[in-house]
């Protein structure tokens, strides 16, 4: 008996180990040969049965989903993790929010703001009081959309009932900040339900662009009775069942790290103009996998980097590129010994050949920066850049750069070889390459010593906030479609002025511009402020980032935007 026992073990020693793991890694494994063998067999049988079941299941799902006429297939690179707009702000989720939630306003088929769930919008003369009249539209459970959805949706972000990372998105609303810090009662919030279909916002200061702000997920309405019915805020958005939508689609199912299925909301006011019945949002972290799936017809839209351009073009797809509302620039710590000198900063900007940076290093469709606010952000009737033009005077000119440097060196009483500083950059391919190029350019053209430090985003952000850097290769994107997104941080009473930059002149011009009611005048004023910022070279703009993407032949009407949602399929149709 003992011999048989040992022999069985020796022969099947690897499968014994395996069955030990299979039966839950317990230490009871392999106490008896009989049971061990049985377990292995049983496990094998289970696997077979499971496989058979899976195959049938798969056949079923393939006929249900597949590449059916009315199903759009898109990919996001990370799991949404929550559908609660209070805590989820990832770029990937913004696409889903863009089709499952509708704010009082939304983007039209161009960059213009159109009416969303509100069909009439009024404001007082100085833009401090806004009144929205709601349409007849419904939540995905059939409840009507009401004014209280906004009172509740915004109050919950401020009164401590839910975890929230960016309460300041709502600080323009009266008493919002005071409520968050506990100095005012939540009932004093400047959001009032006048009647069931009318909601009024009272603001702390004039916000002429309030309609644009409202498209952001921090201003969504939330259905109070639904949240109460699922047991409170902590449960909201944690699964498809505990998520409610008021937009054209709702979350039908959600498998973590796998797929989110969106289906048309039958109670949505504009449902007849929504062409696509179902959207499958796959969670595919790897870009090369996304590209392969796109080439195989499994995805309808794909974003990709320059290195995959040739592959996609070769497969016969038309490649497009759009400015994703990001601007890349050098941010200086003006407390640095050398970089505190304005002429040295101006010399750096003048020494950089942005054309060759964009064409030779980036090669991804990015364009040369002629200001800080990126190309695609809107101004009044056209874009900001169309209205303001170039504000960067320190453009590439090596001789001029050397002169400016000498001016700075004379002021400090040092020579060029004394100047040395470190450029801090994020450890991605793009920023590592750009930082390397800048190092070379500055050493060659100015003869100054530059070092590079690449870090992950958390370390980077920590060092930036404690001003523990000399120069930082930064990239900034827009949360909403207004230039204040970019320029606001340099106001010296801003919560986190990233550059320690203080300019009375900038402050004065900026403040005057922000509260100007006339939009053209306002943008022009902001342009003046940008000019001051760039004359001082508090930052050195480098390029406006672009993103390549391709859309399958069967899908038309996909819109890419410079602000969230970067991908918009509201107007998309599928043509077979």
């Amino acid at each position: 008996m003992k011999k048989l026992w040992k022999r069985a073990l020796a022969l099947a020693v690897s499968s014994t180990l395996l069955s030990a793991a299979l039966t839950g890694c317990t230490t009871t494994a392999a106490t008896e040969t009989g049971s061990s063998a049985e377990k292995t067999e049983q496990a094998a049988a289970e696997t077979t049965a499971q496989t058979a079941a899976e195959t049938t299941e798969q056949a079923a799902t393939e006929t249900a989903a597949g590449t059916s006429n009315s199903v759009l297939n898109v990919a996001i690179s990370s799991d949404p993790s929550s559908f609660d707009p209070a805590i989820s702000l990832g770029g990937d989720l913004m696409y889903i929010f863009g089709v499952t939630e509708e704010s009082l306003t939304r983007f039209g088929d161009d960059q213009k703001i159109v009416d969303g769930l509100a069909d009439t919008i009024e404001h007082n003369e100085d833009y401090t009081q806004w009144t929205f009249h709601l349409r007849e539209s419904g939540w995905s459970n059939g409840d009507p959309v009401t004014a209280d959805d906004w009172v509740y949706g915004i109050t919950r972000l401020l009164d401590g009932s839910t975890e929230v990372a960016y309460p300041d998105f709502n600080y323009e609303i009266k008493n919002a900040r005071a409520i968050f810090t506990g100095e005012a009662d939540p009932s004093e919030l400047g959001v009032t339900a006048i009647d069931e279909k009318t909601v009024q916002f009272d603001l702390e200061y004039p916000v002429p662009y309030f309609e644009k702000l409202l498209t952001h997920c921090q201003h969504f309405g939330i259905n109070r009775s639904f949240v109460e019915s699922i047991g409170g805020d902590a449960n909201y958005g944690t699964s498809a069942e505990t998520t409610l939508s008021n937009g054209p689609y709702y979350v039908d199912s959600w498998e973590t790290d796998n797929i989110v299925v969106l289906k048309k909301n039958p109670y949505y006011w504009n449902k007849d103009n929504i062409a696509i019945e179902q959207i499958n949002v796959y969670v595919i972290p790897d870009e090369s996998t996304q590209v392969n799936m796109f080439l195989n017809g499994e995805l309808d839209i794909v974003d990709f980097s320059a290195q995959r351009l040739a592959t996609i073009e070769k497969a016969g797809f038309e490649v497009s590129s759009y400015n994703n509302g990001r601007s890349a620039y050098l941010l200086y710590n003006v407390a640095n010994e050398y970089l505190s000198n304005k002429y040295i900063r101006q010399a750096i900007s003048t020494a950089i050949d942005r054309e060759s940076l964009v064409a030779g290093v980036l090669k991804n469709g990015s364009t040369v920066a002629d200001g800080f606010v990126p190309v695609s952000l809107s101004g009044a009737d056209s874009t900001f850049r169309d209205l303001v033009g170039s504000t960067l005077t320190y453009t590439y000119n090596v001789d001029e750069a050397k002169k400016l440097l000498q001016k700075g060196l004379d002021e400090l009483g040092i020579s060029a070889s004394d100047v040395h500083f470190t450029i801090m950059a994020k450890n991605t391919d793009e920023f590592t390459a750009v930082a390397g190029a800048l190092q070379q350019i500055l050493q060659e053209n100015l003869g100054i010593k530059v070092e590079i430090e690449t870090l992950d985003s958390t370390s980077l952000s920590t060092k930036r906030k404690s001003y523990d850097y000399d120069a930082y290769l930064a990239s900034w994107g827009a949360d909403f479609d207004d230039a204040t997104n970019f320029l606001g941080s340099y106001e010296h009473d801003a919560d986190a002025n990233p550059a320690l930059y203080i300019s009375e002149e900038f402050n004065k011009v900026y403040k005057a511009a922000v509260y100007t009611a006339d939009q053209t005048e306002r943008i022009k004023g902001l342009g003046e402020a940008e000019k001051i910022l760039l004359e001082d070279q508090a930052i050195t703009p480098l390029y406006y980032t672009a993103q390549y993407y391709a859309v399958s032949d069967r899908v038309k009407g996909v819109i890419r935007r410079a602000v969230v949602p970067y991908l918009d399929t509201y107007f998309a149709v599928i043509e077979e």
């Binding site: 929230v164 973590t256 790290d257 952000s461 920590t462 930064a474």
Partner: protein, 322 residues
Amino acid sequence: MKKYILQRIIIAIVTVFVVITLTFFLMHMIPGTPFSTGNDNITPEALAALEANYGLDKPLVEQYLIYLKNILHGNFGTSISFPNQSVTDIIKKAFPVSLDLGLRALVFAVFTGILLGVGAALKHNKGLDRFSSVIAIIGISVPSFVLGTLMQCLFGLWISSWIKETFHTSFQLFPISRWESFRYTILPTFTLGMGSIATITRLMRSSMLDVIGQDYIKTAKSKGISNAAVTWKHEVRNALMPVVTVVGRMVGSICTGSFVIESLFAIPGLGKYYVNSVSARDYTLTMGLTIFYSIFVVASTLVVDIIYCVIDPRVRLSGSRR
């Protein structure tokens, strides 16, 4: 034997405790907090409210003691980067997938590796031996993201589209990615298993060669026992010993998820959480996963030790560590 096992269990518990303590303090020593990610400007009052919410405003030693108390009560806390999800829930959801893939890869690697190793030893310096060397070199030197991408392109894209065009069907040989049914598991299993096949093959081969040269094999042969019987009953059986040790160590690393393979094939496993939780400074998730991982490794080592002690009486008698 009981004393030996008890001793091993105590060592295992101490190991896990040391791991918890070290990880806790190392994690907090990395610059940055869970709320300093990205380039967004978070206001000071919002930051204070968030830190108080997770108890991060307390002194570090106090946080450590609270944490120890919580885990003794089986409470691993709530993830910071995945709000409203407990660490236990995340592990419960993602680990079965990683374990499933890991076991498939392990079975594939163990059987292929042993067969190739035995073959190589029997046909020493001949074709099969060289073939197994080539496999081993590929398995060890080609990184999994290269191998995985190649598999995707080859089987998911090129061969499949050739079949589709030639036979005018919509037949997809192997799916490019995702984790749905058996067909979906083949490419990731192969990719994950390749690295281990190499190790097992080389080990099995050298171990076999060692056994083949032993006197008792000559004795067995001289007794007129058939070649097949000598090979399977005496050679392979004795040569398996070192492989058991190595496979035991592999269980821990293979079954707890691979970041590269899981993100390449879009598999909802545990692998990505290890990497992402550290860069997100998600203290509770990193701690929970480290404890889970160390318990898993310690437990699989313990099982190997016990199996060893069953197979090889010498280990039991000496009562010492190998």
